[in-house]
Every structure is written in structure tokens, then in C-alpha cells.
Symmetry: C2
Subunit: 329 residues, 2 copies
């Protein structure tokens, strides 16, 4: 059933029906007629037909690398909370860690499919940059920082620095690092730099042999821990770029009877739920993921309303959460 059939059924004009669903200027008589017919028929106007004239989709595209990650789902929850309150819906694209799909999705979103885009990016290539600057809809990047674009990000460097410093202040002398791919500026490069900054400041030379690059998984953390802890020069603390990696390290320690924090201190980033219940509760850095999602959504909202081209970068701070894995002395 379309609007003219419905209008006939209700005994009013097409314009009247359209006015009912949009602005005012409609007599109470007609309003009642329409409501009665609505009750009878269950008519609903077609969104796409509306969109074709108004150019408004009430849809926001969200591009993310995976769904089953605590940090990402928290961010998404923040986004969803703010946007749904404003009547927007989320068009989700799960790239499954495939950068090419980020590109194709951005392409897709240029076709007037959405009113705005939020990109939970991992890595930026030149293609990314080129495409992003050609976007015709407001776009916000969450979790990474890219000059010239709207971003909400975390202080990854500071977080890594503080966590590493915490362990060094407790007397660690042989710090090790297990991080993520350096192409990922936030979780990879910045967290490594934070680690290195703290180590250097403590008067220790960063030893490349004490630094490993892992995937974002427990298993990977486990493997890298095995590498680091079975060598000759053993670390007395490990800073892990994510809690997942830290959990893998801890697994290895449990199996090999390495005592935590006695023999080895461990610190993570992300303050995941898991960290609290690990067999040795994990010290971590709380990043405000949900807030990042909310703020990203708010930034997008204001961008969509104003249509302005101002680019802002919002960096959120962090909180150190100390638990048993670093409690010495």
C-alpha cells in the first residue's frame, strides 16, 4: 500500500497524509481520519521514497575491524547509545580485519546510503587518506588520530608510559614489551613509544631482543611470552599492549610456575573484564571506550547538523588500575 491508496482509504488527499507524518498545518478532522485509517490498515510510509526527496537516511555507517572484541563492542555501544537517542540507526560493516574492505565500505557509503560515517580504523594507508578526504558525508574516526580529520582517540602513548613506569618504579630492571603491529598507530606504535619513553627515562636502554610483536590474541601473547621467558636474559616485567596479550602471558607463567608479581610483573592496557578475574588479577590501564564511542557520535552529530568542515581531534585520558600483577613490596 502506498500513500495515494492510503489517502483514498482514509478519505483525504495525498498531501494531507504527507503532512500528517511531517509538519503541521493539518486540521484535527483530517488528523483523526488518518489515524483511524492507520489503525485499520497499518500503513507505513516508505523510507527510501522519503529519502529520495529529503536526502536524509537517518542512517550512520559504522566500519569496524571485528565485533567480538570487548573494546570495540564497548565503543560501538557508546555510539549506538547516542545515535539511537537522536533517531539514527547504525549500518554496520564488519571488515574482519581486512583493510580492503574498509576501503570498499567507505566507497559504498559515498552513495548517499548514510548521513554520516564512523570509522573504527586500524591502519591508515594512502588509499584511506585519499578516500577520506573525498568523503561527501561527515566522517569521524574513533580510536586513531589522523590529522585533518575528525578524531576521537585515546592517549595511548601516555597509557603505555604510565603502566610501564608503574612497574619500573617498583624496581623492575629488565623490562620487556609485547605489542601490536606497528602499522596500527594507536595500539601498535604509540603504545610502544610509551613503553620506550618510560624505559629510557629510567636510565635503561631499550633492548630490541626484549620486544616482541604479537597479534591481538591470548594465544599470540602466550607464544611471545614463551620466547621472552625462555631466553637467557629473562625480563622481570612485561608491558603488554593489550589485556588479551597479557592474559596469554599469564597462562604461560602459570604453566611454567613463574610467580607473579614476584618473578615477573605484568601490565596490560584496556582494563578488560577478564583482567579482574585472571588467576593473578591484572594491572591495566582503563581507556574510556564507551565514552569514546559517545563522543565520536556526538562529534558526528554536530558535524551533520552544522555541515561545517571544521576538523577536531579529541583525545581522552586514561586511568591506571593497579591489581595484584604489579603489587610488590
Amino acid at each position: 500500500m502506498n500513500i495515494s491508496e492510503f489517502a483514498k482509504e482514509a478519505g483525504v488527499s495525498v498531501s494531507a497524509v504527507s503532512r500528517y507524518f511531517n509538519d503541521g498545518y493539518l486540521s484535527d478532522d483530517k488528523r483523526a481520519l488518518i489515524e483511524a485509517a492507520l489503525e485499520r490498515t497499518g500503513y507505513m510510509p516508505s523510507y527510501s521514497a522519503r529519502t529520495i526527496r529529503t536526502k536524509v537516511t537517518k542512517l550512520v555507517g559504522v566500519i569496524l575491524p571485528k565485533l567480538s572484541s570487548e573494546s570495540i563492542s564497548r565503543v560501538t555501544e557508546g555510539i549506538s547509545e547516542v545515535l539511537s537517542a537522536e533517531g539514527f540507526e547504525l549500518l554496520l560493516v564488519n571488515t574482519a580485519n581486512d583493510y580492503k574492505r574498509e576501503i570498499t565500505s567507505l566507497e559504498l557509503f559515498r552513495q548517499n546510503r548514510v548521513d554520516g560515517v564512523i570509522l573504527l580504523a586500524s591502519v591508515f594507508t594512502d588509499t584511506h587518506r585519499a578516500l577520506l578526504s573525498k568523503m561527501r558525508v561527515p566522517t569521524v574516526i574513533v580510536g586513531q588520530q589522523l590529522k585533518g580529520f575528525n578524531c576521537v582517540c585515546h592517549n595511548d602513548l601516555g597509557a603505555a608510559y604510565s603502566m610501564t613506569k608503574l612497574m619500573l618504579d617498583k624496581g623492575a630492571k629488565r623490562p620487556a614489551f609485547i605489542g601490536a603491529n606497528q602499522d596500527d598507530v594507536a595500539a601498535g606504535r604509540d603504545r610502544r613509544r610509551g613503553f620506550e619513553k618510560a624505559v629510557t627515562e629510567a636510565g635503561i636502554t631499550v633492548d630490541p631482543k626484549m620486544c616482541e610483536i604479537a597479534k591481538f590474541s591470548m594465544d599470540s601473547g602466550y607464544e611471545k611470552a614463551k620466547l621472552l621467558l625462555s631466553g637467557r636474559k629473562k625480563p622481570d616485567c612485561i608491558f603488554c599492549a593489550t589485556d588479551n596479550i597479557a592474559a596469554g602471558v599469564m597462562q604461560y607463567c602459570r604453566e611454567t610456575d613463574i610467580s607473579i608479581p614476584g618473578d615477573l610483573m605484568i601490565g596490560g592496557v584496556g582494563d578488560s573484564r577478564m583482567g579482574k578475574v585472571l588467576y593473578v588479577p591484572l594491572s591495566s590501564v582503563h581507556l574510556h571506550y564507551k565514552t569514546a564511542g559517545r563522543e565520536g557520535a556526538n562529534m558526528l552529530l554536530s558535524e551533520m547538523k552544522s555541515g561545517s568542515e571544521v576538523h577536531r581531534i579529541l583525545q581522552l585520558e586514561y586511568d591506571i588500575v593497579e591489581r595484584e600483577s604489579t603489587k610488590r613490596g
Copy 2:
């Protein structure tokens, strides 16, 4: 830029452009002209304009109670995997555990916004049933079983039964239960029935005082554990309807020096990542969440293709994963 402007720019007819993006019957000359103009202008056809004629949105609505839950995000990942391979995108609605939003979202999806709907439901009210039977688009329910509709669900009763039986077989005599709201048929009622079945079969009478209802959170599990374990009659095993609840129970046991599995065995459901790294690794039941998502998506796809009204129910089986929390003798 719209199709006629673009057609003029390319030097071809509007029909030719439309044919370029759809079927064949287009000479190579025109194809080349269009491709050249595409390169120059970056024109993309409008999705909503297309939808208005074809009635195809290439969108699937997914309604879920929350995002930051491991089980739900796994299901969603399965859904996303299958549907994106078929060129569909997900329109996500996060109801934030608000049943009313499930209703309004279903309403919304009746407006030709999507080609199909997947509902990760929690609770079914009469309103749900009424609305679901009025849906004009193919709909699949994942995680719950509702007669007369397309469903993909787990064998929740069997899962709970087997886990409880495992603990009873190891000699537990005073089994306790911490479950979820009984309005949730799958995670609430069925898992409780499975527990009760196993207990009864073992010749033990189910003691209502040994049964608590928690929320789906660690904290709630912790609180209920305190209730059960500080009473006079202490349980020697607790079956928890979810791993999160079990993790809360374990937290309490750690604080109060209750030894696991010596004093108390604990079993969960869901085989969450957390379970493996808990301070006592948790026995759990692996439910095939991602598979459920995939199968739900497949079911929806075949429903959308055929347009048939056949209703199927697919129940997935489970695997017991035994870890230290129930390893006795």
C-alpha cells in the same frame, strides 16, 4: 549529480547508464564512454532511488539486546560473515535490554527498510508474537525457540543437564543453581529445567533454597554466591547458567578461601574466553554461537530467495568442555 546529468556528461542515454549498473545489452562503446565519465566524475547511483523501484534494500535488520556480550557478538559475527558474502549489510539495533525497543524496532523494520530481519531475542511477550506474525519481511529468531517461526537455537536444556550431571557424577550431593530470569526461555527456563532434570535423575530433590536468579553479570553472580555459600546448608557444586555468573561465584570463593573444586565444583555455560584464564579454569558448555549466527543468516537468505512461508527450527548441539573447576578424583 544524478543519472541524467551523468548520462549527458558521458554522452549516452539514461537507459544506457542504468543498464551499465544492472544487466547487459550494452555495446562496448557505451560501456567505455560510461567508464571514462565515471572516472572523471565519481558518480554513484543513489541506493534509495533504486530501492523505490526494485523494492530491494540489500539490508538486513539485526535486533539484539546488547553489544558488549561475548555470546551475542559471536552470533553477530557469524551473521555478518554470511550476509556480507552475499552483498547484504546489517542494520543494527541495540535495544539495551529494553523489550519495548524490540517492539518498536520490529515496527520500524516493517517500513520496507530491510529485506529481512534477524532477532536475537531475550523474552517473548504477546506483543512480540502478534508483531512477528504480521511481519511482511522474512524473519529469523536466533537463540530462542518460538513455534511457528524460523528459529536457530541451542540445546539449552541438554547443555545444562549435561553440565549438572557431570558434577553429580563426580560425587556432588548438594547441587545449587544460579540462573537467569525465567522469562528468558532459553537461558532462563530451559537451563533451569536441565539442571532440575539432572538433579532429579540423580535421586536428589531440588531444593528451592539452593536456587537463585541472577542478572547476566559477574557482580550478580558474586552476590548470589554469597547468599548460597553463607547459609547453613552449603552446596558442594553450583551450576551457573552463564560463565559470567560462574566467574562472579569464583571471585567470591577466592575471597573466602573456598577451594575449587575441593569444597565446591562450579560449572558454567557458554565457554567464554574468560573461563579458560580464570584463577581456576572453568568447566563450561560450548555453544556454537558463531555457527548459530551463520545458520540463522543462511536460513534468512533461503527465506528471502524463495519467499516461502515454511517455518523451520534448527537446534544446535553443544560440547562439554571440562576444566579444573570440576576436576575431582
